[in-house]
């Protein structure tokens, strides 16, 4: 379990996170939603230790990240998989080298064992015959799949995704969502996703946290989001007519 207690983070005069608390449990996909500039990326990067909060605690399975030594942090990070918004693939390495990199770095497996594992995860994300391609030769959706494959190749306990659907067409976005959900269930891992995508909220949001101006404004499930009267949430989620209609249909169904 990841427990976040009252974290604050500022950049100069900008107080980006203003006391956010949350818990993330194993086998559940948790979504962080909110407008651009609400602090979602800073929040997820603080969880990963890429930003150091000025105040508050982040505990991984009861161990406070802030009190860990550099070596303990590095050890913990081996159990973390991260899918970055821009995929962050090593652009001068092939797909195979990208996915194999954590194995080479942290295991003593033979080349054939590593290759077997790489091919397994690439198959798992539906990428075949792409081993020798470079990231620049792949579509956005394929790059995201490689990023997911690299994130899960070490069998992580925690999976973080920053806007995994950004820049993807709706069909590919749904495939990526489903893939993340399946991986979460299959490996019983803690998955935390930053997203703007309301389809993701409806499809895979087992737990949703809504951030606004660096504050946790609302928390619930994808069912709760249909019923909430929280104005900030409804203004954000139902800004599109499509979702307004979906909500109306859901509420009518619920009344029956």
């Amino acid at each position: 379990m990841i427990e976040v207690k009252d974290i604050h983070k500022s950049f100069g005069d900008a107080h980006v996170l203003k006391g956010i608390s949350a818990t993330f449990e194993a086998g559940k996909t948790s979504l962080i939603i909110g407008q651009s500039g609400s602090g979602k990326t800073v929040f997820i990067k603080s969880l990963l230790g890429l930003h150091t909060p000025e105040k508050g605690d982040i505990c991984y399975d009861g161990k406070n990240y802030g009190n860990m030594s550099t070596d303990e942090r590095r050890y913990l990070r081996k159990e973390i998989g991260m899918v970055f918004q821009g995929s962050a693939l090593f652009d001068s390495s092939t797909v195979e080298e990208n996915v194999m990199f954590p194995l080479k770095m942290f295991t003593n497996q033979s080349k054939s064992e590593m290759l077997e594992r790489v091919n397994f995860v690439l198959n798992r994300v539906d990428l075949v015959d792409a081993n020798n391609k470079y990231p620049s030769e792949l579509s956005g959706g394929m790059q995201k799949r490689v990023a997911i494959a690299r994130a899960i190749v070490m069998k992580p306990k925690y999976l973080f995704c920053d806007e995994p659907n950004s820049g993807l067409d709706p069909r590919t976005a749904i495939l990526i969502d489903n893939l993340i959900q399946e991986i979460t269930d299959e490996y019983n891992i803690i998955t935390v996703i930053n997203t703007h995508d309301m389809n993701s909220v409806m499809e895979i949001g087992e737990k949703i946290i809504f951030l606004q101006h660096g504050i946790k404004e609302w928390e619930g499930t994808s069912n709760d989001i249909f019923k909430t009267d929280n104005k900030a949430v409804t203004d954000f989620v139902y800004s599109s007519n499509l979702f307004k209609k979906v909500r109306q249909a859901y509420l009518m169904e619920d009344k029956k």
Partner: protein
């Protein structure tokens, strides 16, 4: 930054692979331009010395002597290091900077990899241990370039030049050149790496950072050259 850079590499094999890659990128690929410049600078130094030595009282072998001294003491270690600061420095800043702005460094950190150690240490080791080799070649080619210039222009004879370069050889001058080279090599690897690692923004900032890195590396080399010369030769 340097504390993290000089930690023990996390995986020996990966580190060795990085060293080989850096040896090619920062070492091998700098050999050609260094050799070319050293050869022609050697020629120019010899011609200029010959043209300025018009007093018949001054023996012609001093042309070879002056060329050798200038090349060993100054032109090869300092001049070539400044050229490398431009070529290698901009490469280091732009490659690390691009990794920073495309979140590849964050990806390394999230995996539990000491990114400073992984990215910067192989560059420092490569430059410190390979650049003395480049500068040694540059010294040889510079002196050879002087001899070729004499042969082509007829300003001095081959015998005088060879007598001159054999005159009063002090091995400490070569050691001095190598000490300077190793210090400059450290500067060439670290200042651009710092500018690349801590760049913020996008591709424009990476470009600006590369320029800044080259300027600061060159300035640092010039200033250190002054102090090293004073320390080692006075």
């Amino acid at each position: 930054m340097l504390k993290q850079v000089f930690k023990r590499p996390q995986k020996g094999k990966i580190f060795r692979d990085s060293l080989v890659r850096e040896l090619d990128d920062l070492g091998n690929k700098s050999l050609g331009i260094s050799a070319f410049i050293a050869f022609f600078v050697g020629g120019v130094v010899a011609i200029q010395t010959a043209l300025n030595v018009d007093n018949p009282m001054i023996p012609k072998y001093l042309i070879g002597f002056a060329t050798k001294r200038s090349i060993i003491l100054e032109f090869a270690p300092t001049f070539i290091s400044i050229i490398l600061a431009g070529k290698v420095g901009s490469f280091i800043t732009s490659s690390i900077g691009t990794m920073r702005v495309t979140e590849q460094i964050d990806a390394l950190e999230v995996m539990g990899i000491n990114s400073l150690n992984y990215l910067v240490l192989p560059k420092i080791i490569t430059t410190i241990f390979f650049y003395p080799f480049i500068i040694s070649i540059a010294i040889f080619l510079g002196i050879f370039g002087g001899w070729v210039a004499g042969e082509l222009t007829g300003l001095f004879s081959s015998t005088d030049y060879i007598d001159g370069i054999q005159l009063e050889f002090k091995s400490f001058f070569y050691v001095y050149a190598m000490i300077k080279t190793m210090v400059f090599a450290f500067v060439i690897a670290t200042i651009p790496a710092y500018h690349g690692y801590y760049v913020k923004g996008g591709s424009l900032e990476v470009g600006r950072s590369s320029t800044r890195a080259v300027v600061w590396t060159s300035v640092t080399i010039i200033v250190l050259n002054y102090f090293l010369t004073q320390m080692l030769l006075s």
